[in-house]
Symmetry: C2
C-alpha cells in the first residue's frame, strides 16, 4: 500500500495494491487509446509566447527537505509555459530552494527570446544547436559559463520544449526518447568539451548495442516499475523518533531502500573532483555518490575520468535539461557507473523517472545498483504526478514530461503575491 | 611616453617621461600628506545604505574586447556604493560583458542586506565569516554554490567593503594588505575546502617567511612599477594591419610584452581541469594559462593540484572579491605558480594592480614570469585610474581600491536609461 499524502488528492485517486492493478489502471494501450487528439505536426506548432512564473512552497515551515547543507529550503521553481498556435502548451520548470528564484525567472525571461516565434521543428530538428544557442550567448555566457543561475534557468526552457515536443508526439518523454533512432539522440547532445571521454561515434555504437532486448526491458518495467528509494524518512531536522516511525511505515508500504545507508553522498565540496577521488581512494569499499550540485557535463566527465564517484546523481534541472542529461547518461554508461538521479524538491521525481527509464531501455540496459530517489511531498500539485507502488516508480503514460502544475497552485503559490505568501502566518 | 587615451582626460593630466618623474608627482608621502581627513575609526563607521547600479559601456560598437570566445562584449558592471554615517563611501563593482548584468544587480541588492546597518569593524574583524555569510546563505547558495551570478555579485559587495575599509584607514588597498599582520590576512581567508592543499598554519608560515625583504621590494616597485603586458594591440576583431600599427606604437611607448605570445590561454573549457592538465602534459614546454573564468578557490586548488597550469590568471570579480583572491594567491605561492591577473574590461586593471603588488610584497616575493594584463580603454571614467609608465603599473596612492567611477559616468552609462543607451545610434 502506498501511504502518499498526494495520492489521496491526486487525479489518480486509487490505492494500488499490486502491480497488476497498476497496469490495469494506467496500461499503455488503454491510456493512449482514450486520447482524442490526433498527433500534431511539429512543423505546424509555432511558439507564440512564453510565460515565466516564480513559484515557491513554504516547506521550511515544517523542516521538510532539510539536510546537513540545506537548513531551511522553501522548495521553489522558475516555471515556464510555452504557448503555441496549435492548441497545446509546453511546461517546464527549474528547481530552486527559495530566495533568488526571481533571478532564475529573469534569466528564463531573457533566454525565452530564443524560442518565441519559432516552429517546434526548427528547434527539435537540430536540438544540440538550440542548447548551444542558449549556453553560448555571446554576452550572457560570461555569467556562467554553463553554470549557476543562467544554466539552471536554461533547464526550465529546454525542459519545456521537450514537454511540448512529447505532447505534440503524444508520448511521454521517456517513450519519445526510447523510440528515437540512435542518430536522433546523438543529434540532441552537445558533445563540445567531452569528446576526449566520449565521441559521437562511440555514443552511437553504445546506443545501437543497447537496443538489443529493449522490448523485454520495457515489459519488465511495465510489470515491476523502476526501483526507487525513499528520502522522506530521514530529513536532517527530524527527531530520531520521527525517523523510526517513518521507517516502519515505509517498510509496511513495501519500501526496501531508505535514505541514510549504502553510499556516502557529496562528502566534500561539489566542485572538488580531486577531493572526491581522494576520499574514494582512501576509504576503500565506500561508495561515493555526487551530482545534485554538479554544474554541467564537463564536470561530470571529469568526475568519471578521475574515478571520483560510484553513483552518478544527475539532476534534471542543474544540468541544462534533457539534452545535457543525455550527455551525462551516455558518459556514465561509457565509464560503467550507475546513474541514480537526484530527485525530491518539487517536480524532480516527475522529471527523472523519464530519464532513468530511458537509461534502462536504451543506454545502460541494467538495473543493477540503480534506484531513483523518491521524496513524498508536493506531488499533489501536479496534473500527472509520479505513481509509486511498493517502492517502484510506475511508468508514466500521459504525453509530456509529467511536469504540468495545476493552475490553482500556480496562482496560490506565486511569489510574492500568491495567497500562501500574503496570508498571515 | 604613454599614449593612453584616458591619460589625456584624467585628473593626472600629465605625460610621464621617466620613472623619476612619476615619483615626484605621486610619491607616497607627498600625496598622503596632502590629505586633509584624519583616519576614521572603523567602529564608528556604520553602513547606512547600499546603492546598486547597472552600468554598461557600448564597447561592442568598436569591436573592443573581442576575442575567440567573446565576440561582441559591451563591457559592463554591477556597481555598488556603500553609504555610511561617517562621511565616506565604499565603491565596488563586478565586471560583466553586457546582457544579464541586471541579474548581477538583483543579486547584489539581495546580498547587500548583509551589510546594511552594520559597523565596518563588525565585518572586517572577522572578514572570512562575512565572506561565508554571503556564500553560504541557506537558500541563495543553491544557485551556485560559489559560482555564476550570485558569486560574481558577491565580489562587487566584498570589494566595496575593502574600498571602504581602505578609505577609513587612508591607505590604498595594496598598502592596507601589506601592512596587516600575517594573522590578519589569515583571518580574512575562507579556508573551507582548500585545507587539503594549504592549511592556515602553512599559509601563516609562508606569509612570515615572505615578510623578509618587504621594504626593499616596496622600494623597487616605487621606482620601477609592476611589470605589465598590453592586450590592446591584438583584439580578435582587429585587422592584421591594425595589430601591426598598434604594436609599433606600443613598442615606441616602452612596452615589452604584447598579448598574442608566451603562453596558451584557456585552451579548452574553463571548467576542464583534467583537460588543461592533459594539454599541458602533451605539449611539453608550452606554458598553460587559465583563470578568468575559474569560479572559485576550490577550482583553482584543483588546477594547481593537477599541475594543469603554469600561469594563474586570477580575476578580481569572478572570484568573490579580495578575500577569495587572497586564498588563491596563497595557494599559487604554495605550488610555486606565478599569478598574472586577468585584467581589462572595466575596472579590472584598477583592481588587480593592488592584488599583484600585495602578492609581490608579502607572498610570492618575486617578479619572475609575472606581468599584469593591461588594456587601454575605459580608464577615463575612473577618479583614480591606473597609471602606466613604460609598460609598468605605477603604485596607486589614493586611499581605497581605485574603483570609484565619476558621477557623470554613472548617470550617462546607466542601463537602460542613461544617455548613451537612449540616444540614437
Amino acid at each position: 500500500m502506498v501511504r502518499s499524502k498526494w495520492n489521496k488528492n491526486s487525479f489518480l485517486n486509487t490505492i494500488y495494491q499490486t502491480n497488476e492493478e497498476v497496469n490495469s489502471v494506467v496500461g499503455p494501450k488503454s491510456f493512449l487509446e482514450n486520447r482524442k487528439e490526433s498527433r500534431t505536426q511539429l512543423k505546424t506548432v509555432k511558439i507564440t509566447n512564453v510565460r515565466a512564473i516564480d513559484l515557491r512552497f513554504p516547506t521550511s515551515r515544517g523542516m521538510l527537505g532539510s539536510d546537513a547543507v540545506n537548513k531551511d529550503p522553501d522548495y521553489s521553481a522558475a516555471y515556464c509555459i510555452l504557448e503555441t498556435d496549435a492548441g497545446i502548451e509546453g511546461h517546464g520548470l527549474t528547481f530552486t530552494i527559495g530566495r533568488g528564484t526571481e533571478l532564475c525567472v529573469s534569466a528564463l525571461e531573457y533566454l525565452s527570446r530564443a524560442v518565441c516565434g519559432r516552429s517546434l521543428s526548427s528547434i527539435t530538428d537540430d536540438f544540440a544547436s538550440f542548447a548551444r544557442q542558449l549556453s553560448e550567448d555571446s554576452q550572457f555566457r560570461w555569467l556562467g559559463p554553463e553554470k549557476g543561475v543562467i544554466h539552471i534557468a536554461a533547464a526550465a526552457l529546454i525542459n519545456s520544449v521537450w514537454d511540448l515536443y512529447a505532447r505534440a508526439e503524444q508520448k511521454p518523454v521517456w517513450k519519445l526518447l526510447a523510440e528515437m533512432e540512435p542518430e536522433q539522440i546523438i543529434r540532441a547532445v552537445n558533445f563540445r568539451y567531452i569528446t576526449d571521454a566520449l565521441t559521437p561515434d562511440e555514443a552511437l555504437e553504445l546506443l545501437k548495442r543497447s537496443s538489443f532486448g529493449k522490448e523485454e526491458r520495457l515489459t519488465l518495467l511495465e510489470h515491476e516499475g523502476y526501483p526507487a528509494y525513499t528520502t522522506s524518512v530521514g530529513w536532517y531536522g527530524f527527531s530520531d523518533d520521527r525517523v523510526r516511525e517513518l521507517c516502519h511505515e515505509a517498510i509496511a508500504d513495501g519500501w526496501t531502500h531508505f535514505k541514510l545507508p549504502w553510499w556516502l553522498e557529496e562528502p566534500t565540496n561539489p566542485d572538488d573532483i580531486l577531493g572526491h577521488a581522494r576520499i574514494r581512494r582512501e576509504i576503500p569499499g565506500m561508495r561515493i555518490a555526487t551530482g545534485e550540485c554538479c554544474s554541467n557535463r564537463i564536470m561530470f566527465k571529469q568526475f568519471l575520468q578521475a574515478q571520483a564517484l560510484d553513483v552518478c546523481q544527475i539532476d534534471s534541472c542543474r544540468l541544462a535539461g534533457v539534452n545535457e542529461n543525455l550527455a551525462v547518461i551516455l558518459l556514465a554508461a561509457k565509464f560503467g557507473v550507475p546513474v541514480c538521479p537526484h530527485a525530491g524538491g518539487v517536480g524532480l521525481c516527475e522529471y527523472v523517472q523519464h530519464l532513468s527509464i530511458f537509461d534502462f531501455l536504451c543506454v545502460s540496459a541494467s538495473l543493477e545498483n540503480r534506484v531513483i530517489e523518491y521524496v513524498d511531498h508536493l506531488h499533489e500539485h501536479f496534473l500527472d504526478p509520479v505513481c509509486i507502488v511498493k517502492g517502484h516508480y510506475v511508468l508514466p503514460r500521459r504525453p509530456g514530461y509529467s511536469i504540468e502544475i495545476c493552475p490553482e497552485t500556480l496562482n496560490k503559490f506565486a511569489y510574492p503575491h500568491g495567497e500562501v505568501w500574503t496570508e498571515k502566518q
